[in-house]
Symmetry: C2
Subunit: 201 residues, 2 copies
């Protein structure tokens, strides 16, 4: 039975709507009274497991998504620019996040937000060890042991386990957010999540 | 230059998220201070023109969409059940809406809401002339001339023109909602639309 008193936030640094949602998680936690657990997963693995594909492959949809992202960023008051590397394979980044989860899970949200900023605001490369180290330092994590454990079997296992858990709970895209058995897909479900938690509380 | 003082609401009766959004349009008009113009289009034509496809073809997505629809309906306080005919070719229904637009556009929103209710609340068939006549009567439209003009060339032309206009303005799905050059896709963008209109007013 999934925990109904925690919000599980599955995300990938390469997902623009994960970025938007990640910046709102402190507010969502406050508005629901529930803790948010940041859960790094591999969006590419979710696509593979479910037969889904990049939404931005359709030209009309890609154009709209850029307009939509820009509008949400303005609405939230956060910086946004489409990264010149997009779409990017984020395997190393997502493993670095799992390494951080293993070393000190309390620093994971700040580390994730720093890496989101690298990719979605600074046109940086979040798979690069220098950028990973910089984000770790910003989040109060010691970069050396973190980078050393990116390729550890336990780190790889954690990323696989997180991805498998999200797929088992119904994920087919990112962000995938759960409160117990309730699934919410996307940044655009955050206010509905808050209202649903309040109604079922 | 598109009219920035009107909300253009392009919808198809066969689209569940069009149904959700349609029930909120009176509120959105009130919250923005802008009139909403109901614009029947053919979602199948939009898919064809843009290379898009039914979102519910992915099993994991179909499961989530049913959960999501049920949740939104509860949130809005409106009835919802998945129609046993879904997905349905709505060509005749969308032409009937265009016939209504030609006969008396002021009755179009009520007529559309009645047809949405037939399909998404009563498991009825909105392509059936008896159901079309019933919905017309509910909306204060005389059913006989309406049904007689469903197959008129001018009615068919209007449906094609509405669909072409939406595609030209960027649509690839439904509902597609426009305020001037701003495009909003989906029921889940209504609150963002309100905030965006207020910000740019």
């Amino acid at each position: 039975m999934p925990d109904t008193r925690t919000i599980d936030f599955f995300f990938d640094i390469g997902s623009s709507y994960s970025y938007l949602a990640a910046t709102q998680m402190a507010r969502i936690s406050q508005e629901t009274g529930l803790p948010v657990r940041f859960r790094p997963f591999l969006l590419g693995g979710v696509f593979k497991a479910t037969g889904n594909d990049m939404p931005a492959k359709l030209p009309a949809k890609a154009r709209y998504m850029l307009e939509d992202m820009t509008r949400w960023a303005g609405d939230y008051g956060i910086p946004f620019q489409l990264n010149s590397r997009f779409p990017l394979s984020t395997l190393r980044t997502q493993r670095a996040l799992c390494a951080a989860e293993r070393l000190d899970a309390t620093k994971l949200p700040a580390f994730a937000l720093a890496l989101f900023h690298t990719f979605w605001a600074e046109d940086g490369d979040p798979t690069n060890d220098a950028e990973i180290a910089k984000a770790a330092t910003q989040a109060g994590l010691d970069p050396a042991p973190l980078i050393a454990s990116i390729d550890a079997p336990e780190t790889k296992d954690l990323l696989r386990a997180n991805t498998d858990e999200a797929v088992a709970r119904g994920a087919f895209g990112a962000p995938a957010i759960y409160v117990g058995d309730m699934m919410f897909w996307g940044n655009d479900r955050l206010d509905l999540l808050v209202r649903s938690v309040r109604r079922t509380a």
